[in-house]
Symmetry: C2
Subunit: 156 residues, 2 copies
Amino acid sequence: MPEKAFQDYYPEYYSHCYGCGNKNEHGLQVKSYWDGDEAVAHFTPEKHHLAFPGYVYGGLIASIIDCHSTGTAAAASYRREGRTMDTLPPFRFVTASLQVDYLLPTPLGPQLHLRSRVVEIKERKVVVETDLIVEGKKTARGRVVAVQLPDHLAPE
Amino acid sequence: MPEKAFQDYYPEYYSHCYGCGNKNEHGLQVKSYWDGDEAVAHFTPEKHHLAFPGYVYGGLIASIIDCHSTGTAAAASYRREGRTMDTLPPFRFVTASLQVDYLLPTPLGPQLHLRSRVVEIKERKVVVETDLIVEGKKTARGRVVAVQLPDHLAPE
């Protein structure tokens, strides 16, 4: 049995996200996993996800960094409480701010690898830094400030 | 005849971008226009562009800010040289860094309005700040550092 991704533990209400919801059939379905203290995701863009011929669209890079980071924020919060991700209440983080630095053009074709570290963790706020690596080169760097979904936006 | 958008002046090679290329049939096809000294774009997300039920996916917001900003950087560079956008050589900017602050959840359904200002302009670097407005409320704020596409990535 393959390991379940962070996003596969999201309650149904939170599983429709275009970037990572496993119920969004039009979406990107980002899947994140622990690798020791880092969180990883692997993503192969579609041919139409280009900026110009041969290179990945920057908005796609921002999108996968975003979802991988909020997923990592949730997973890290369970870990901090000593809970597994199938326990209640669920953690669900949203993005307060997203910063992406594009260091090199990202070639379109090979699988992209995201590797994240939690650099700050509080009860309602988690900061995650991410490297985007393709063919051994770091082509982008992200920083996401994730905050717990406000109660008034959560389902009753 | 409706006014041509900034992106409709891009040479064919640059018209395949997932975010704004008018030749990318799978893409978002962001269209930007001058409104005085500000650049505007209007975009209505699809139903599947959600973060959770009722709200727009943050990665989509980052994507449309990104493309609207690089388009604005190009348009502003023509203006700076006193040229119209149908003259050569073409300007084409890519994103060096993208910052998005999500101020409020953005409701999914109504048209989104992007409104940008050029805050710094040099020959090869333009900084653009953008407000995302929906139903009269500013729900996100973006800042893009755009740089001219390096010569080695441009077509011969």
